[in-house]
Symmetry: C2
Subunit: 325 residues, 2 copies
Amino acid sequence: MKKLKKQYVVGIDLGGTKIYAAVIDDKGNILGAGRKKTKAEQGFATTVQRMAACVHEAVDAAGVPYDAIQAVGVGSPGPLDLKKGIIINTPNLKWKDAPLKKELKKLLQKPVMVDNDGNVGVLGEYAFGAAQGAHDVVGLFVGTGIGGGVIIKGHLLHGFNENAGEIGHIIVNPDGPLCGCGNRGCLEAFASRTAIERDIRQALEQGVPSKVLEGMDNPKAIIRSKRLLEAYQAGDPAVVPAIERSAQYLGYGVASMLNIFNPQMVVLGGGVVEALGEVYVQKVRDVAVANCFPIASRDVRIVAASLKDDSAVLGAAMLAWGKGK
Amino acid sequence: MKKLKKQYVVGIDLGGTKIYAAVIDDKGNILGAGRKKTKAEQGFATTVQRMAACVHEAVDAAGVPYDAIQAVGVGSPGPLDLKKGIIINTPNLKWKDAPLKKELKKLLQKPVMVDNDGNVGVLGEYAFGAAQGAHDVVGLFVGTGIGGGVIIKGHLLHGFNENAGEIGHIIVNPDGPLCGCGNRGCLEAFASRTAIERDIRQALEQGVPSKVLEGMDNPKAIIRSKRLLEAYQAGDPAVVPAIERSAQYLGYGVASMLNIFNPQMVVLGGGVVEALGEVYVQKVRDVAVANCFPIASRDVRIVAASLKDDSAVLGAAMLAWGKGK
């Protein structure tokens, strides 16, 4: 009997709230997907089992035999020990030294490759999305936190301990708010989804007139992206300054990246960018270009990620194909 | 007659105030040096002639035949067009599109290689100084301005337009002072020699009691490094906060570099670091380590440059040897 060709991989996006797995071919086509909540609070073992279940769900949805899966790539929150595939610790998941690679490999019986979520995000956009054709790319993913990844001459920047690219944690103002990482004034503490929410809540507490919570079942729940966008477009006085501060600080962060990396392209992705779209990206671009050396902004393109939710799974697929270096 | 072996190169450090050229062998030995003031205000042609004169002075001092010089490398303030060897513009020298490589080659009749002063500085430390043996290195040179250079896996980071590494111009606080580059809140505007001097002068204007200017022939002249150090050691109330602010912000900048590059080593050089020594470096180190991810500071060494004034000429020599990539 002829041996089955292992022509697919699975990419997994492990997030603080959800797991997303996709079966992907070598052209970057997604053939099937599986999604579950992360439930990190139930412990690492639970989440790994949920990840494995997502993989099987994705394989079933794709309608391909499990034997045709060559390997599994995972984009995970960091910091990570890449070689061992261990999540050292991460504020969002609250585990310590979680042996992700080993346990997932045991459950799936497939080779497992792991990298930082920001790294796989930029890798996905580089291979299949907005950054195709560029070889010096900085990626910033603005969601609950801010993930980053850097490609230099076509290779991911990993650094000495393989934890480079934490652009969300450059200090953009040491007098700024406390960050989830424990330090003060990180880019993430100014520009993330969490920072926007915090700033809106503070404005509401201070009595700024706003309709942003109107009609919410639970006014203490996280304000959804769609609602944020509508309030922003309506000129809501609590929402507009919060979003503009996010864009402005992200712009400062991008300016610094232009001066440091002098990239050909900056890709902006993640839930905030996706929800707010070009109006947000344009503001970031304006601030970035105004605050860096002209030579660094001369030929750079600062664009929205094009793969939306899929950049991480597609980048994770690249890991699984062995193209994550 | 046997052809003379071209066994030496000349490295040139082109600074805002002085030119320093040195004849260097392939072991990094300096055989002879030449120094002149830059006199940039007299125009580019004058400075290039002074550079050529420095080269001849260095060759004479080395006692080697001019024919034994293989090539000349130059560390220049940026931004630069590396391929054409043009200084695009620079606040310190005030020229525009100065064809450094072409004109110097014409005068010297030798191949000329040019790179950014921060890049050659870190290259010198990497090849012959404090960063020997490390392959992921971030260099910061704190003088009139702040130059930077980054080595990744043994190669200089150049970027798409070859102007990467401008670490002095990351934005560390957008509410901060105006920088020489025209933007606000750059690292250079907080931590450079110029920033320290500015902060001291402001304190004096505000009536802070200080002896720092006592005995100076011209109290409006730049305060010399030795005087700064003495005043710092004596606890001068105008000088101490200025120097500590410099070290603190440099620490924030280094923290950001640790999170972005996750290097094996950070080398701190330039006049300020040289003058103030370990007490300054220790402060920078403490702030940096306290403000980055533990994984990024775990194995990194943050050290003073060891070549002092010579890091740029030795790095420029590496360029001339064709090892500047």
